[in-house]
């Protein structure tokens, strides 16, 4: 499962939303979650990994989930992206 977003927050992915993403991903124990951007793929369960992507406004970010709760996990992560005003769905 995966969905791609375009970052709209002027500050890019900063600590607060990154924290929210990591906390959400960590809730789904049996599901792997990844963030992919600029040709780099990191686990979404690591805040340092997410911040290391250096995402800025205008960048695109793909969230990937794999495992038993991949549907639920992806929809929860999407909610964080939208609620935090971080990004919009990129069709």
């Amino acid at each position: 499962m995966q969905k791609t977003f375009r970052i709209i927050d002027e500050d890019g992915i900063h600590a607060r939303p990154a924290t929210a993403l990591v906390n959400t991903a960590t809730k789904f124990k049996g599901t792997e979650a990844y963030a992919e951007a600029k040709g780099k793929k990191v686990t979404l369960k690591s805040i340092l990994g997410v911040l290391s992507l250096g995402l800025e406004a205008g960048d695109t970010l793909t969230l990937i989930t794999e495992g038993s709760e991949e549907v639920e996990a992806l929809s929860a992560l999407q909610e964080v992206m939208i609620k935090e005003g971080l990004g919009e769905l990129h069709e």
Binding site: H14, A15, T19, N23, V42, T43, L48, G54, E56
Partner: protein, 570 residues
């Protein structure tokens, strides 16, 4: 004696218990360990203790300062749980049989470096978070007991040898009622920060650290520059009264916030503020500043490991200019070198740093650095009234060379499609006697002068103001200094240009009558000095002060001049 005299660095009076702030030694050595598993266990234990600590800090911050301030600790907690950090440290301990503190420091160091090399200024600053978190765990591994300024949660007076920029940035005004440092002067970083935070401070109290222990009752009198250790009840009462009188005075001053600065006989001058970071703009506006008279850009270059990019600089300049909403902002280009070091520039140590390779001299030589700053400034000029000034100009040739580089970059930027203002005023700082003496020639080519009195006095009197044995020669009211100031102001006016002053002298109540009398157009000072200065000027007659200044120019000593000025208040 329970009273220590220092330098009054930030006005106001505070009474609270002492909090001694000392920086631990984080020297880490690589050691071979026999039992790697025991070392991993030590790491896990230190991580658990750090997390427990952070949890407490986070909850307290949440309750006292709100969600936004607590978020930072939430992300610190996540870092301590981060498999990308913890697993490599444990692996390193096991694979190399090394001590946990060494392994942690190495792995964390890689992350710190990664953040520092990021394009976004925001992410670059995350390196500081990583450092904080690492130190917290190291405290447990190395058995260091350290409480950072951010963790202070009761009303205290902070007492330290000196305060670093990161310490002062963490001071919480709610709990830190005042501070005092062994070293430092009125212009040291911590003093400047204290004024922008509006915390009473006394600096240069020499041996105070050795005379105070945590928990002692302390009075910091930032009005007179005194610190009292374990004062009597009568002394506490006396100072509390002084504080009340000062609060009343402040309330009076605040009424002048949105008023223009006009003398009793109707002469207008402008009162602007000196700032060091974009955050300082709030203080300028709250204190009724009519502009920024000196934006010191050094802080953008300090406290990091490489030169700030054009983008980082542009964002900082633009923020200041936008927040000043059309009021003038005078930005000083990079004033570094000599005694103000930038480790990453690797400049050789000098015998006489104040007479050496610094400021505009360095910028004209290192054009890569200078052009980046000029580009950032020019781009920011599209957002308001930007004025640029070059520091330490000694010859007309230097000014022309700097101006030509600016014009070249302006053309290039326009070629690239950037918007650049057409009306950027270009000025110089007058800090070197040769420039003051030749001001009539400079005045034909510059748009304004800004007199930097700290250096001008030092160079005119040939005395290092930091050297205690000759600091008596730091004499702002010496007639020699006043005559140089007069030459500069008169030369500017003859060409229809304006003169400002951005040294400490501009906010000094003894100097203000003289400067008004000499015809100074703009006074730039610490934001908190603006309202007292406006109040003072409103009571002075510019015509009378002109006579006063004329008398002062004919005097022989600084003491005579000071006595003359004080006689008008008597």
């Amino acid at each position: 004696m329970n009273k220590i005299s220092g330098i009054a660095a930030s006005a106001g009076i505070a009474v609270a218990r002492a909090f001694i702030l000392e920086h631990p030694d984080y020297t880490i050595t690589k050691t071979a360990v026999q039992d790697a598993e025991a070392e991993v266990a030590k790491l896990n234990d230190a991580l658990a203790k750090s997390k427990a600590e952070l949890q407490v800090i986070k909850e307290r911050t949440l309750a006292e300062l709100g969600e936004k301030k607590a978020e930072i600790f939430e992300s610190h907690l996540l870092i301590l749980d981060d498999p990308e950090l913890i697993n490599p440290v444990a692996d390193k301990i096991r694979e190399e049989s090394v001590n946990a503190d060494y392994a942690l420091n190495e792995v964390a160091g890689q992350f710190i470096e990664m953040f520092e090399n990021m394009k976004s200024a925001y992410l670059q600053e995350r390196a500081a978070d990583m450092r904080d978190v690492t130190k917290r765990v190291l405290n447990h591994l190395l058995g260091i007991h350290y409480v950072s300024p951010a963790e202070i949660s009761e009303e205290v007076i902070v007492i330290a040898l000196d305060l670093t920029p990161s310490d002062t940035a963490q001071l919480n005004r709610k709990f830190v009622k005042g501070f005092t440092t062994n070293i430092g002067g009125r212009t040291s970083h911590s003093a400047i920060m204290a004024r922008s935070l509006e915390i009473p401070a006394v600096v240069g109290t020499k041996d105070i650290l050795s005379r105070v222990k945590s928990g002692d009752l302390i009075i910091v009198d930032g009005l007179n520059g005194d610190v009292l250790i374990n004062p009597s009840e009568a002394e506490v009462a006396e100072y509390t009264k002084m504080q009340e009188a000062y609060d009343l005075q402040i309330a009076e001053w605040k009424k002048l916030r949105d008023e223009p600065t006009v003398s009793a006989d109707g002469k207008h001058v402008e009162l602007a503020a000196n700032i060091g970071t974009p955050n300082d703009v709030n203080g300028v506006i709250e204190n009724g500043g009519e502009g920024v008279g000196l934006y010191r850009t050094e802080f953008l270059y300090m406290g990091r490991d490489k030169l700030p990019s054009e983008e980082i600089q542009y964002n900082a300049y633009r923020t200041v200019i936008e927040n000043m909403k059309g009021k003038p902002v005078v930005v000083r280009t990079l004033d570094i070198g000599g005694d103000k070091e930038l480790p990453y520039l690797d400049l050789p140590k000098e015998m006489n740093p104040f007479l050496g390779f610094r400021a505009i001299r360095l910028c004209l030589d290192r054009q890569d650095i200078f052009r980046t700053q000029l580009r950032a400034l020019l781009r920011a000029s599209a957002h308001g009234d930007l004025r640029i000034m070059f520091p330490m100009i000694a010859t007309l040739g230097e000014f022309r060379a700097a101006r030509d580089l600016l014009l070249e970059e302006k053309e290039k930027l326009r070629g690239e499609g950037h918007e650049v203002s057409d009306s950027i005023q270009l000025g110089i700082m007058v800090e070197i006697p040769s420039t003051a003496v030749l001001a009539d020639q400079f005045a034909k080519e510059v748009d304004f002068f800004s007199i930097g009195t700290n250096d001008l006095i030092q160079y005119t009197m040939a005395a290092d103001r930091m050297n205690e044995r000759v600091s008596y020669l730091y004499q702002p009211y010496n007639p020699a200094i006043l005559r140089l100031i007069k030459i500069v102001i008169d030369a500017a006016h003859a060409e229809g240009k304006w003169t400002g002053m951005c040294g400490e002298m501009a906010g000094d109540s003894t100097a203000i009558p003289l400067l008004l009398g000499l015809g100074l157009d703009e006074f730039s000072m610490s934001a908190t000095s603006i309202l007292p200065a406006r109040s003072q000027i409103s009571k002075l007659s510019a015509a009378d002060m002109k006579e006063l200044a004329a008398k002062a120019l004919q005097m022989g000593t600084a003491e005579e001049v000071a006595a003359l000025v004080h006689s008008i208040n008597a």
